[in-house]
Symmetry: D2
Subunit: 287 residues, 4 copies
């Protein structure tokens, strides 16, 4: 997409008013930045303005560590919610996985091809199955078995580990444990799940069986941010595939795997490129 190295990304929403693009673009231009990509949207019904702006800050007259505080002055006058992020250093990811490995493998394969700008810093699992794969990719692997009794203790250890590894984002690659509220609230809009249905249809357990029972003609997969409400968080990406009455539940599982892998990978890429802005329970995705 780009050969630029020093990329800053601003994601911002605020009440709509004239001159917003001009004033924000000016902040970048006047300080020596070069705009690489600007996408904005003004919702004419809710009078809300949203913007994603990526710029090259190689010749910026503001020091990298001061950019946010400088921009804050402008943001305040706009009553904006915003964040500025940098491509370097890349986001640090922790992958949680249980027994199914297809999402993990897909991720590692794309990682090895540099398909998304992030570093997979650690793999965490409640099973030992993926230890060897982690080893092949030379990524630290941690095994935290979970059952009802020890769940609380284990989660605490996991949270500490995440802190130690300075993890920015957690991706749940078909991780079959429900995270506690404490856990999800520690990483707001920073935990990405892949659910094997076209949400909001077939939330909860066993969606392929439910889809088979209902006799739908299309199945889907959904990647979303995790909130305290299971499968109810902001949706990042979805996709579907056609099925027929000839498909058994096992066929749905097989066909669904391909969906899960692609949808999960696309969501992670969008997140790591700072293209996703959460407002309320919805996302704005700047593609």
């Amino acid at each position: 997409m780009t050969a630029h190295k020093n990329i800053a990304v601003l994601l911002l929403t605020c009440p709509d008013q004239p001159g917003l693009v001009s004033r924000i673009a000016d902040f970048v231009f006047k300080n020596g930045g070069n705009i690489l990509d600007l996408d904005e949207h003004a919702d004419p019904y809710e009078k809300e303005f949203a913007l994603r702006l990526a710029w090259d800050y190689s010749d910026f007259t503001i020091e990298k560590e001061d950019i946010a505080s400088e921009f804050a002055k402008l943001a305040q006058t706009l009553k904006a919610q915003w964040r500025i992020q940098f491509r370097e250093p890349p986001l640090r990811l922790a992958v949680f996985v249980s027994r199914y490995q297809h999402c993990l493998l897909e991720l590692l394969w794309r990682y090895s091809l540099n398909e998304f700008p992030a570093e997979i810093s650690v793999i965490i699992s409640n099973h030992k199955d993926s230890e060897k794969i982690a080893e092949q990719y030379q990524i630290p692997f941690y095994h935290y078995p979970i059952d009802a009794k020890i769940k609380d203790t284990q989660e605490k250890k996991e949270l500490e580990l995440l802190k130690d590894h300075q993890i920015d984002t957690i991706v749940l690659a078909r991780y079959m444990q429900i995270l506690s509220k404490r856990f999800t609230e520690a990483y707001p809009n920073q935990i990405i799940n892949i659910h094997h249905s076209f949400l909001p249809a077939f939330a909860g357990a066993d969606p392929y069986r439910k889809a088979h029972q209902r006799g739908v003609k299309i199945i889907g997969a959904t990647s979303h941010y995790v909130t305290a409400d299971l499968d109810e968080g902001p949706i990042i990406e979805q996709d579907i595939t056609r099925i027929s009455h000839k498909d058994s539940v096992e066929d749905l599982i097989r066909k669904g795997r391909d969906l899960e892998r692609l949808v999960f990978a696309r969501a992670i890429r969008l997140h790591c490129e700072h293209r996703v802005l959460v407002r309320g329970n919805k996302t704005l995705v700047f593609e």
Copy 2:
């Protein structure tokens, strides 16, 4: 698809056992029929056999009106549920419509191109808006305004009208009234609805608004047989289209119209070609 005129179609399900295809094909062959299309499926889990068989009965040694009773003897030994239908005369359709005309217009356009083997015998509406269109296509139009007080009386009149016109199948082209249980049970698996969501997501009223609120990345449309449970009947066909955060509810309505038209038309075509077999609350669609 075919130049054949005298087409009979058998749709059948029964417990699986060896020799089913052979015995059924033999019934057709031995009596002088020519098989045009045979599709079958044996569910290895539920041990259920399902089959669609179309044949040319031009040289059949059994009279058309006796075919069903003759086949019944074989069917009994198989413990089969089945029906035999003929392409001629085509099914007689009644179209119910309210204010939105896109599904009606789509249907009439395809009808004028002979895209599906049926006769649109009558158009019924609770509004007068479509009277002129009906006139253009020289199809009888009946206006039955509905409100809570007169609904019962009006439905009775409609049912009588349907009987008078010897209607086989009712298609609800965005008809905004809920049919009574008496009505739906009078035409089991013979009433086709188009719902403007990807069922089971967003059943009930205002699905585009709900989809917008939930922030899904894909919207859909579903055509299904109408049962006493609103939006819960067997699904015949579904399709989807991608949306983004830039789409307002009005955009979803516009994009959804295209989906509704296509999905509804495909479902009606499948039904009229006798390609849909209902088992429980699911359909088997032999494409």
Copy 3:
């Protein structure tokens, strides 16, 4: 999409350099405009910048008729190719049609629902078949039969007619005559065709038959600007549908009709909303 009435749209390309967005946005802001939509793209390989900017000019301090000449000063310093267009008055369209009416009917139906901001000013055909439809929609209809001998004379008359009706854009709704070079050059990037294949596959005559012969598993439709080279102009929109060996050429024609209608309608909408920028033989489509 918007309730705004006074919308101006700038489409621009120029060599990339720092400050472009800021300077262009400033032009709008400083003169009292309100940016509704801005999308830009800087190609890091070809060092080319492209932008679409829509703004509300209700309170603009520059008179509408002077906007272009004022902007020209800035554009010159940027070495830009550009145009500014207004939503009001809408583009004036001429529809050319031959015998197949599905694209014409689709267009008229969407027109009656105000799906695209344009006025269909005239329908022109080499056959009389569509005269009645034109009448229903109260659109002037002109019949210009074409054969090799009179083609040249007829085209001249058509060009005059287009001039009289102040036509901006010509849409070829399955018009089966090849336009002369003189004709296509009179309306550069203002003639939109629908070709019934996935270009560049199966250019020229009879694409469904060719697709059937080649045994492809997917067919498509392509809407493009017409240039002197048949089926070689800049592509605006494409879409596809799956087929199987069971589909005859007639089935492809039927399935293809649905594609043609949708792709053609989408291309016209994109064009009329001034979302299409032509560079060389390619389009940039700002969706």
Copy 4:
């Protein structure tokens, strides 16, 4: 799809005539077979009949090794082209690969999940890159460097190796060498290639660059049997994905990889389940 172990599959074409299904089904039934899946198609234009029939031969009264010769008697009276294949032992595959590994890795991953009924017996490459991967999966790896001078000699060695390993089917997982006529004719309809375009568009080298230059809005991938004419063989499977003007050639390569993997895997699965019947330069795919 099925728990059956002893599956025989008949693929057959012949001139259409009455009684074909019945007579063929009878062969299976009378000899104690249980039909699992039957799909047939009679082309009303070319008067050609085609059929795929899968049956369980556990209780067959004909010995497995005599089935073909017994069926040949019936086939002769039908003037049929046909073959009978068995699920056990599975087809033996040789994978050819060059530098790009995504198709190889996808195949190996699906192989490890038993997604298709085949045995990957050997991996052959003109580079050493994939040696380690082969080792991980414990599959013999052979390195045959190719250049113009030694190509002939190397191909001979490869053909011998394939013979030694009793290879049934060769799959070219982005193998960047053109096979000689001698080679392709040694394995008619048994060599499967993945081409990174929507054939017949962009045949030959560098299809993503060509697609980028032409400005198409959709790219594709095609899996086909290899014949002496490069990229002209019978198409097994195709799929597509949308692109925009913002996508560079590198983006097309990245997006295309996902297509290639899926299309290639689906084609191989269809082939290994004996669902593909070649007639002339086209395939009939019984899904």
